[in-house]
């Protein structure tokens, strides 16, 4: 049985570190659509992959992963939006956990938009 004592220990270890996180307006925001449409098409593993990788790669100081409701493009779900301060919003469509890992590696770390997964590159009729 996992106890609250363990949580207390984590809290004590963290004391003093909490203030180190970057301010919100400096953060790159990564937003995952989590309405019925997103969830049904697989947004939960995408969100989990993104947040796990952002933590593992030590990006929590500059990247915030959050969720939102229906983005309004249900047919393209799961959708991930990347909003970097001072840059145009990038909308990635039809995501899965593997593609999300690529976004972390190439876009969030490497700084290059993964064009082939963007809404812009989709053949919209």
């Amino acid at each position: 049985m996992k106890s609250l004592e363990e949580l207390k220990a984590i809290r004590n270890k963290m004391q003093g570190q909490v203030g180190l996180r970057a301010e919100d307006h400096n953060h790159t925001r990564v937003v995952v659509g989590m309405a019925t449409c997103g969830i049904a098409s697989g947004a939960r593993p995408v969100l989990n992959a993104l947040s796990t990788l952002v933590q593992e790669k030590g990006l929590t100081g500059k990247v915030a992963v959050t969720q939102t409701g229906c983005i309004g493009l249900c047919q393209y779900e799961p959708i991930v939006e990347v909003m970097e301060p001072g840059k145009q919003k990038i909308t990635y469509i039809k995501m899965n956990a593997d593609k999300a890992a690529e976004i972390v590696e190439r876009h969030l770390i490497g700084g290059h938009v993964v064009e082939e997964y963007t809404l812009n590159s989709a053949d919209i009729k």
Binding site: K2, M14, N48, Q55, T60
Partner: protein, 185 residues
């Protein structure tokens, strides 16, 4: 349609957070003897009028204005009724909403529960302003997760810090395993 029941739970509980709930209670109760799985999601959000409550299981009703369909609740209802179960939604304006779905465990058309741990983890970590009381019970063996207890210990440290997020995941995983001994259903 959702591929597992835990995704329905995530979807319906998202509605609770959007209804401004301060506490969302989620209960999963599986009992192999009575062959029943009961899932309850109860919130103290803004609630609905009797008219809205009556319409909400209709896929062509939604409270949002962007389009005319709302499939979350109908999906959940369908999942229960297709599995020999029942579904109810009760709501009072200003008081809150309770959704309850009952499934026949051994029914061939019952969707698997799926990754309920991920669902609860996602809800807890991404809705720090909402409190969750999660109860998981398998054949009488149960555990609870109460974010109000966590918050008391953490004194303001956020749930989405890596160590705490991992603790929450481990808490859910380990305690579930202890309760259901790894049963897959």
């Amino acid at each position: 349609m959702m591929t597992e029941l835990s995704l329905n739970v995530l979807d319906v509980a998202e509605n609770s957070t959007r209804a401004g709930a301060s506490l969302v209670q989620i209960t999963i109760d599986a009992d192999t003897l009575s062959d029943q799985l009961t899932i309850t999601i109860a919130d103290d959000g803004c609630g609905m009028t009797p008219e809205q409550t009556a319409q909400v299981t209709d896929p062509f009703f939604t409270s949002r204005t962007t389009r005319k369909v709302g499939l979350g609740v109908p999906f959940f209802k369908y999942a229960a009724e297709a599995a020999g179960g029942s579904f109810s939604i009760e709501s009072q304006l200003g008081i809150g909403t309770t959704v309850k779905a009952v499934f026949v465990l051994s029914h061939i058309d019952r969707m698997p529960l799926g990754d309920i741990t991920s669902t609860i983890h996602t809800l807890v970590v991404y809705h720090p302003e909402t409190d969750f009381l999660y109860e998981y019970c398998y054949n009488g063996q149960s555990f609870t997760l109460d974010t109000r207890e966590f918050k008391e210990v953490l004194e303001g440290a956020p749930f989405d810090t890596p160590e705490i997020s991992q603790y929450i995941k481990d808490y859910l995983t380990e305690n579930k395993l202890e309760a259901d001994k790894g049963a897959v259903y």
